[in-house]
């Protein structure tokens, strides 16, 4: 057949995951080890931010994964709604807690970075606020999965929530931008210091860039490994339930 939908078969999916997982996990570990050691010990301190800048190797990849995990859940939800592949719904479910943890890592490392830089743990900067809202979306999504008994109903409802939530997440992003500009004009102080700001970008492109890229790859592999592992666990759990149901019926 050769179609990618072959992997929507739970048996085939589990088998493939078992074959691939060790390599993905090894790649994640390898990339993270190389990237973090390189970044922490073999790059110079920033002339303004000092050693604090090195938290970038955790902060930026975590933030990137946090957003992309939601996108992956959106894609998986759409596949479930359109093609009714159970594996897809389970993958979305498996990705949510990983995404939530990544958002929390991004927020925590951001706060630790922000304290010495901006002199505050938290500011209602649009970027920070958007991440906080994303955390709430993850929480709601996970809570809905946990609350519903019937797996198909849960998959359907969480998919609908994911679609609607995505639209509202984007709306919130723009609303927050608008709201903060309206609040205080001086937000540009933070913009400069923010990761993509002109000031740091210059540095990033020079010395920090290569280890940052390795770390990003490491986080992507880590995310993949965790999601594959968790999806396989979910499949096994569903299989167990199905077997139980079959026993009851016989």
């Amino acid at each position: 057949m050769g179609s990618i939908w072959e992997y929507a078969n739970p048996v085939k999916f589990s088998r493939t995951v078992s074959a691939v997982l060790p390599y993905v996990a090894a790649a994640a570990l390898g990339c993270l080890a190389v990237g973090l050691v390189w970044g922490f010990f073999f790059t110079p301190d920033d002339y303004r931010q000092g050693a604090t800048v090195k938290i970038i190797y955790l902060h930026v990849p975590a933030a990137m994964i946090a957003i992309n995990a939601w996108l992956m859940m959106l894609a998986a939800s759409l596949i479930w709604l359109i093609r009714r592949h159970h594996v897809s719904a389970l993958a979305a479910r498996a990705a949510a807690p990983v995404g939530l943890v990544m958002t929390l890592i991004a927020l925590a490392t951001g706060a630790i970075w922000g304290q010495p830089m901006w002199g505050t743990w938290w500011a209602w900067d649009p970027r920070l606020t958007s991440f906080l809202i994303l955390t709430l979306f993850y929480l709601g999504y996970i809570a809905l999965w946990e609350a519903l008994e019937d797996p198909d109903t849960a998959a359907d409802l969480t998919s609908v929530l994911c679609l609607v939530g995505s639209v509202f997440a984007i709306l919130s992003r723009y609303a927050v931008n608008f709201w903060n500009q309206g609040l205080h004009q001086g937000a540009s102080v933070m913009r400069v210091e923010a990761v993509t700001g002109a000031d740091t970008e210059e540095k990033v492109s020079n010395v920090f860039f290569a280890p940052l890229m390795v770390c990003m790859a490491g986080f992507v592999f880590l995310f993949l490994a965790l999601v594959l592992l968790r999806t396989r666990t979910e499949i096994h759990r569903r299989r167990l339930k199905a077997i139980e149901a079959r026993e009851r019926m016989a």
Binding site: S172, V176, W179
Partner: protein, 218 residues
């Protein structure tokens, strides 16, 4: 559909709860805030618009879980789903009835309650206008949340968790209009954005809510 709207309004009036509770809750929130913040007028005035918006939003949230759950329990939803009215229409009517029994009264009492919080003089009209434009979206988004959680035994808390993040854009633009109005600034942009969100929600959300309801009914 009109029959459904009339029936819901009649039920809200007869069963109590609907009107009274949300308004009483709103009043209590507004009364409690000065106790927490202090009686200083110069401190209350700048936060008045925001507090009134939060109070209205929470009061609106309070009655959401009754919107569909009661009809689900007594089987009305099953029967409505087999009636010639499309479920999208049912959800829209339910949200409409919810707005008429909570959003509208909240909007009307917001101005008198603004006096308690020393809302600056130019802000009253804008406050009422922003609530009038924003609260329909709150009811409609709430209907979506209620549709998601209608089958659950204790869906109330989960409903709040699901709905509150969805309220962010409405709250931001609505409260922005009220606050800018109170400070005598230009309000046209947030007002238009607030209206845009409400109209968009009213146009698209019934479909999402009806889809969720269908999933829960099967």
């Amino acid at each position: 559909m009109i029959a459904l709207l009339l029936r819901d309004l009649k039920l809200a009036v007869r069963a109590g709860g609907g009107f009274g509770l949300a308004l009483a809750f709103f009043l209590i929130v507004v009364v409690l805030v000065p106790f927490a913040v202090g009686p200083n007028t110069s401190r209350l005035a700048p936060i008045a618009a925001g507090v009134l918006w939060i109070g209205a939003l929470l009061a609106c949230l309070l009655s959401l879980d009754r919107m569909l759950a009661l009809d689900h329990e007594d089987g009305t939803l099953d029967l409505l789903a087999t009636a010639p009215i499309p479920l999208e229409g049912v959800v829209l009517v339910k949200a409409c009835a919810h707005w008429l029994t909570t959003g509208l009264p909240l909007t009307l009492v917001a101005a008198p309650l603004g006096v308690l919080l020393n809302l600056p003089q130019p802000g009253y009209g804008w406050l009422v206008l922003s609530l009038a434009c924003g609260t329909p979206a709150l009811s409609m988004i709430g209907a979506f949340g209620a549709a998601l959680t209608v089958g659950l035994k204790r869906g109330g808390l989960l409903l709040s968790l699901l709905v509150l993040p969805l309220y962010v854009p409405t709250l931001i633009f609505g409260a922005e209009v009220a606050r800018r109005g109170a400070e005598g600034l230009e309000t046209q942009v947030p007002l238009l954005l607030s209206c845009a969100i409400t109209l968009g929600v009213l146009a698209a959300m019934p479909f999402a809510a009806a889809a969720a309801l269908r999933i829960n009914l099967r």
